[in-house]
Every structure is written in structure tokens, then in C-alpha cells.
Symmetry: C2
């Protein structure tokens, strides 16, 4: 398969690339790294990306930011960061990509354990992850031409413990290489509308 | 208790008002009906509402719009309608209200069965409902002073079958009066971070 990975330079993106590259052709895209540069917050630019890259059988997105901070000082503006970036950035790939992917192709998005298991200061991440999981279930029953869509839900990564570990005391981190296997299951498997938990 | 109902003139809002009004003082608010007029999409106006209404022990929100339409023609703009209105409108009430509600007070928001059980043309509603449910779980563990937050998840209402029944063939509608009971459970009960399914 020819697989587009958006966010390929990130920790998870690199691990997914490693897990897939012996069997598949990988096309890397990102905001500031990769063969193709794209701002996925702009659906017009996402459409241009699909036109440029040509035939694609699977899309993986491992890009997306949210704001972390206490609910007491959370503002609407801070919540919009996650809605525009991690949520709508990924969904723009689906809205645009549904007409470009080859028959039977797949989308694999990235959610996270916070949709189900909240921690302090992560109400934005929880909200965005919950939105992504329900969107994936809904899109799965409407996509045409045998297209599939799933999401991978990692918990805190071993590689992110220095930066984010203080939010996740008591949670068992997982290596990005283990998270990457879930993307492989989504792409090479036959399921749709699934959330693959890696926690 | 003194209970603020935002969206009190809607089908569910009226039923919740009926269910609560013999035991509680109800303050009705809405975009174009009620004692207090408020555009909940504007958090500044939500703050002004809380200042105006005075002491409030519980907030119910039964207001919120989303766009229905096929995934094939769904645009980012159409998805933004639900994110701005049903999602952030309700969340603005929580962000602003967390400093105004009396100790031990509660928020009860409105989600829907589509977060878990998708139907055609409702990817926006699914996404918004999923976001609300995860936000409620996350906010519940951060709210101060014994404040609680829950959501009620109705399926299609008997009263809405004429307008929306064609989307929900095979689904068993519920009367708004039965949905209203879940809001009473949320307000008078002691749970927090819960989603009360009425389906």
C-alpha cells in the first residue's frame, strides 16, 4: 500500500513509519517536516495535499495539539485550540480524503485514553478525544467505496514522560513502538468504526 | 433549590420545568424566550447572565443546535455549527458558572444517543455528543466546592418524530416527560461525571 502519514516526524509518527515501512511505501507529511508540507487546519490545503501526493491507500494522522490547564482557568479560547487543531485538523483529512482514497482505503486517526479516563488539567484533551471517537463511529457507517476509519487511543508514551509524566502519575506508560502496532492493525485489518486502546 | 434552565422553551426544557417546578424555583433563560435572554455562544454574555440572575443552585442546559447532513457533503463549516452551538454553548455555562453556583450545586448538560449509536447524516451530532460526554467526565474531577456535573443522553423524542423521525427508523422514541426524569436524578441525586442514558 501507499500510505500517507501526517505528523510523521512526531514520536508516534516515527514509530508508525518504522512499523509500516518494510511492507509499504510511506509518504510523510507535516506542518514543518516531511516530503509534503501541510497545515491540516485549512481544509483547502488538505485538498491540495491529496491532489499533489497522488494515489493513496491509507491515511494516518498522528498530529494534533490541545491546551492543558486547570478547569478553573480554562477559557473558551483555550478549548478552541484543541477543537481547531487535534479535532478538526484530523477531521479535515477525512472530509477531504473521502473522495481521493482508493477503494477499500482507510483512515486511522489518533485519540487518547483521556476520553475515558480523565486526569486533572486535561478537560480539553478529554473533550477532543471523545469527539474523535464518536466521529469515527459515525463516519464509519457513511464512508463510500469500502473506505474504513478507525482511531488509535494511546495512554501516556514512555517517550513523553519527561514532558507530560507529571500529569500521569500512577499511569503505566507505553512505548511508541507498541502504540504503532495498533495503527498497523487498523490499516492491514478489516475493521471500521473501532477505537484501538493501547492502555 | 433555585434552578436555571437554559433552553426552557424547547420540548425537553418544558418537560424539565414541569418535572421540577413543584419542588423548586425555576429561572427560565433562552435565546429568544424566558425571563432572561442570553446567547450562550458568547461567554461574556453567559457571565452577565449569572451576575443578573443571582443565587443559583443548579444549571440545566437543554439548548443546542447541530447540522444534519451526509458525510459526503459535510464541510468543516457545517461541523463548526455544532461545535460552536451545542458543544461550546453548553460548556460556556460551565466555564462561567463554576464561580457563581452555590456550594454543592450542579450542572446538567444535554448530549444524545448518537455519541454511541450512529445513524446516517449525523456525524456532527455524534462528534458533539461524544465531546460533551468526555468533557463531563473530565470536569467532574476538577470542579471546586462540591460542584457536580452530569449529562442526560436522550434518544429521539416522541415529540420530535415528525421533524426528525425519518433519521431514526427502528429507534424507539421516548416522551420528553421520561427524559425529564433524568435531569431530576442528576439535580437531586449525588452523582457526578455521569451520563444518564434515556434509551
Amino acid at each position: 500500500m501507499r500510505i500517507l502519514i501526517v505528523g510523521a516526524s512526531g514520536t508516534v509518527g516515527q514509530a508508525v513509519t518504522s512499523a509500516l515501512s518494510s511492507q509499504h511505501e510511506i509518504v510523510k507529511a507535516g506542518r514543518s517536516h516531511g516530503e509534503f508540507r501541510v497545515d491540516i487546519l485549512d481544509i483547502g490545503k488538505v485538498r491540495s495535499l491529496f491532489k499533489e501526493v497522488g494515489t493513496i491507500d491509507a491515511v494516518v494522522c498522528t498530529a494534533g495539539n490541545v491546551h492543558f490547564g486547570p478547569l478553573a482557568t480554562m477559557s473558551a479560547e483555550k478549548l478552541w485550540i484543541g477543537l481547531q487543531d487535534k479535532l478538526m485538523g484530523q477531521i479535515n483529512l477525512v472530509l477531504a480524503g473521502q473522495t481521493y482514497l482508493t477503494d477499500g482505503g482507510s483512515f486511522t486517526l489518533t485519540t487518547g485514553s483521556l476520553s475515558q479516563i480523565p486526569i486533572r488539567e486535561a478537560s480539553s484533551a478529554s473533550m477532543v478525544d471523545g469527539a474523535l471517537e464518536s466521529f469515527v463511529r459515525a463516519a464509519a457507517i457513511e464512508l463510500p467505496r469500502g473506505l474504513r476509519i478507525n482511531a488509535v487511543s494511546p495512554t501516556i508514551l514512555q517517550e513523553s514522560m519527561d514532558a507530560f509524566g507529571h500529569y500521569f502519575h500512577g499511569y503505566e506508560p507505553v512505548p511508541a513502538s507498541r502504540v504503532a502496532l495498533a495503527y498497523v492493525r487498523s490499516i492491514e485489518g478489516a475493521q471500521t468504526g473501532e477505537v484501538y486502546k493501547v492502555w
